[in-house]
Symmetry: C2
Subunit: 159 residues, 2 copies
Amino acid sequence: MTGEDDGVRWLAPDELAAWMSLAALMFKLPGALDYQLQRDSGLTHFEYLVMAGLSESPDRSRRMSELAGFANGSLSRLSHVVKRLEKRGFVVRRPDVEDGRITVAELTDAGWEQVVAAAPGHVAAVREYVIDALTPGQLAQLKEIGDAIHRKVDPARSC
Amino acid sequence: MTGEDDGVRWLAPDELAAWMSLAALMFKLPGALDYQLQRDSGLTHFEYLVMAGLSESPDRSRRMSELAGFANGSLSRLSHVVKRLEKRGFVVRRPDVEDGRITVAELTDAGWEQVVAAAPGHVAAVREYVIDALTPGQLAQLKEIGDAIHRKVDPARSC
DNA sequence: AAGTGTTAGTTGACGCGTCAACCATAGCCG
DNA sequence: CGGCTATGGTTGACGCGTCAACTAACACTT
């Protein structure tokens, strides 16, 4: 399945190695981070992102579509998740006063405490798995690499 | 939520930037690759990996647990997927002759044709999104970075 | 004011992955 | 051999994400 001139540019060994390395990373890292958050705080990584996004916003609130973009998820997904978070008492939803189409999600006090409690463990995990595993130079490279790939995958969002 | 000395080593701006870049990548790349495969070949990335794994093996067959490791998935997941692939006629399962506990999956002719048809498009996507987006130097760096992170996330498997 | 289109968000059905329970076969030890 | 544990794999229930259909509110046109 390699070598023949079938018009396809197959991957060279070093290209393949780099890709495999990235692929393995893509599969395992999310799971590892999810696992830590789930175990220590009962939160999904996505749920954490949503609540962290709210916690950093003025009035601890933000409109759904904005939040969806921030958390790298579809609006539909966010809607489902926020509904669950609301059921758990971490978030409330209300329509915007100026534009009735807009729904604004707001972090409750309970939600705030939940994020604050979850944050240190999550940051520690990110540090352990990523930041502290790399040299400062590699970290800088990683940003460049990530941005370059991101520009190809999602040209619209990245500029 | 930053700046106070609460004993937590929060992320510095450049660390955060690198992490965000990687995070965005982790969320979007799998989706983009899945989308291409699904659209052009009706296959999940995982299904593709499984069938590609078989296609590269002697007799186009391999035992389940091995295959699961290759495709970076749990045995349970693989079992479900292989059952579906079997229903679609791409794969057959049979117990190993020497050890009745072992199930070995084998790619059918239809399955082989399916992978062969899907491969060029998939490789092209990997090229477009990753390989050709980076310089050779970055590609080499990527492998080092991926391996370093992988060693931290899953120490057992990586050595 | 009524009609048309657009934007924001919600909902429900479906498919996939996870988890825990389970089954079958093999290897071991007395 | 009879019982025990370990190994390899399967299954079903449940939860989450996706997709397409839908609702509601606004904006623009006439």
